[in-house]
Amino acid sequence: MVEGITGFTALYIFMLAAFTGYEIISRVPVLLHTPLMSGSNFVHGIVVVGAMIALGSADGFVEQLIGFVAVVLAAGNAAGGYVVTERTLEMFKKSKGGDK
């Protein structure tokens, strides 16, 4: 079922990724909190990959149904997260240009 990542390897990945996330955010100005929250919201949209695998390997109606729901939701997460983040950042760009 699963190849490669087991036990302590996973634990190390968890730990390193957790520190990475912490470091990235720790020096962010309040100004960017909304786009950042939206941006991180977009990043966990990577769940779409898992949802595709779940649906793609589904056997039978029930699994297909749940898998289908998973992909719809995950695609919604990714697309919505991206559009909202881009829009908010676009506004910051505009307001910077308006500064005379």
Binding site: G4, A10, I13, F14, A17, A18, F19, T20, G21, Y22, I25, V30, L31, L32, H33, T34, P35, M37, G39, S40, N41, V43, H44, I46, V47, V48, V49, M52, I53, A54, L55, G56, S57, D59, V62, E63, I66, G67, V69, A70, V71, V72, L73, A75, G76, N77, A78, A79, G80, G81, Y82, V84, E86, T88, L89, F92, K94, S95, K96, D99
Partner: protein
């Protein structure tokens, strides 16, 4: 191999993208990098062996395309159309979708594991008498051992844990969305809420343990169902003012759920991206809770802002609200040396931010020093007010955070409070009985005059009375934010 290299690249793009997003000048590029990563990961997943090698690959491919189109299309459209004032609830909604997706993945994988666990049953029956011979027993034992090895305990545990967290984030985020969107006005609090939640939590865990050992669909059904209800009952008692903290928390939880399901699927991109979001989100949640001077536990279990103002505070302050008209305020501001504008969510609801910036520009042209003061929790989520002001074209060098601006109020003649309420409520400083006692506020009362633009005499979003409105220095300019800003512009132009 090729797919894994692409996932690896995606993880790098995500981390670099988020890193770039932490500075205003590179932020727009950052989200694009993350976007490329997402597209790359999505495309290569079509070639994943589990999908292309499946017996009903064609049907499943069609279903995948259909689902991607529906989910992606709807969100793309709604994300483009949403008003900036409504951003927080949309973020909550998209986040909930991610949590739901993680939970659904878990459901599929757990059902699969259940099927595998039971896969020896038909073989055993077919073997009939042979199953009872020594060779038969050995065969079955060895097969079962191989199966149990495939369904490892760690995968099961993390799968169930991710399912639990993802489901809570899903139903909780939907409640948060409904509250912020004004679809759910009331905060429901059933008697002994915390005890009830605790009971529900324990029941969910018990079904989780049952699922762990049996993997029966019925146990899984109850496990998911109870977790769904738990997410709802945890969120409903939380007042509107605390929603940003909750959205941020659910964002972090979804990240974790994604990471756990990534482990179940053996997908490093999901593990890394999910964990990064999980830890970054936890930090962000803490920062927000700290800005409101409250612990996360306090936010979750105290049911803050559930009652609409106690009224008693009004009589304690004793005074009357003193009204003023726009002409007088116009004169006051035009001849001031420094004016500090304190915007709140109410300003954005009235769509007044453009007029307010127009007003500010007029004042700046007259030589007045205009500054915008932003409380950490102004708006409906941290940084929300910055977005709203940016939309109106306000440059960010006139926008100040609370720590930087609070000392400036003593040097300013006018503090113009527009659509803000709790963030300037002095009760937070000097009334220990107040719900918001201890929350840092903007010290508008240090300036010579406080002008409050307010639609009516009611209480704010959190439902707490504000003694500032009755203060000696305070004058109330009653009316719609946009209309009043317009009148102020006229008043100053006529000078």
């Amino acid at each position: 191999m090729f797919i894994n290299i692409c996932y690896f690249l995606t993880a790098i793009l995500f981390i670099l993208g988020l890193k770039k997003m932490s500075s205003p000048t590179t932020a727009a590029g950052g989200i694009r990098w993350a976007g490329y990563g997402m597209i790359l990961a999505t495309i290569v997943t079509f070639f994943h062996g589990h999908i292309s090698g499946h017996e009903s690959a064609v049907t499943n491919y069609i279903l995948i395309f259909l689902a991607l189109g529906i989910g992606g299309g709807l969100s793309w459209y709604s994300g483009k159309k949403v008003k900036t004032t409504d951003l927080p609830q949309m973020i909550a909604l998209y986040n909930g979708m991610g949590g739901g997706a993680a939970a659904a993945i878990a459901a599929v994988e757990l059902l699969k594991m259940g099927t595998i666990k039971d896969s020896l049953k038909p073989a055993k029956e077919a073997m009939g008498e042979i199953a009872k011979t020594d060779i038969g027993k050995q065969l079955i034992e060895q097969s079962q051992a191989a199966i149990d090895h495939a369904i490892s305990g760690e995968h099961l545990t993390l799968g169930l844990l991710g399912a639990f967290i993802g489901t809570i984030a899903f139903s909780g985020s939907i409640i948060a969305w409904a509250k912020l969107d004004g679809r759910m006005k009331k905060t429901f609090e059933i008697p002994k809420q915390n005890l009830f939640n605790l009971g529900l939590f324990i029941a969910t865990i018990l079904f989780g343990i049952l699922s762990f050992y049996t993997l029966s669909p019925i146990a899984l059904f109850f496990f998911f169902g109870l977790a769904l209800v738990f997410g709802v009952t945890v969120t409903t008692p939380i007042g509107g003012a605390d929603m940003p903290v909750i959205i941020s928390l659910f964002n972090a939880l979804t990240g974790l759920a994604v990471a756990f399901e990534g482990f179940v699927l053996g997908n490093a991109a999901m593990i890394i991206a999910g964990t990064v979001v999980g830890s970054a989100g936890s930090l962000l949640t803490q920062l927000m809770a700290k800005a409101m001077n409250r612990s996360l536990a306090n936010v979750l279990f105290s049911g803050f802002g559930t009652e609409g103002g106690e009224g008693a505070h009004t009589s304690e302050t004793g005074g009357e609200m003193k009204a003023i008209d726009a002409e007088d305020v116009g004169v006051m501001m035009a001849y001031a040396e420094q004016v500090i504008i304190v915007p709140g969510y109410g300003m954005a609801v009235a769509q007044a931010q453009h007029k307010v910036w127009e007003l500010s520009k007029l004042l700046i042209d007259r030589g007045v020093d205009v500054k915008f003061a932003i409380h950490p929790v102004a708006g409906r989520m941290p940084g929300h007010m910055n977005v709203l002001l940016a939309e109106a074209g306000v440059p960010y060098d006139v926008i100040y955070d609370m720590e930087d601006i609070n000392a400036e109020f003593t040097n300013s003649q006018v503090a113009l409070v527009i659509g803000a309420n709790d963030v300037v409520n002095p009760s937070a400083k000097n009334d220990p009985t107040s719900d918001i006692y201890g929350m840092p506020i903007l010290d508008v009362e240090d300036s010579d005059n406080v002008i409050v633009i307010k639609r009516g005499r009611g209480v704010g979003f959190s439902g707490i009375e504000n003694p500032l409105f009755f203060g000696d220095k305070t004058k109330m300019l009653f009316g719609d934010g946009q209309a009043m800003a317009g009148e102020l512009i006229q008043a100053i132009k006529q000078l």
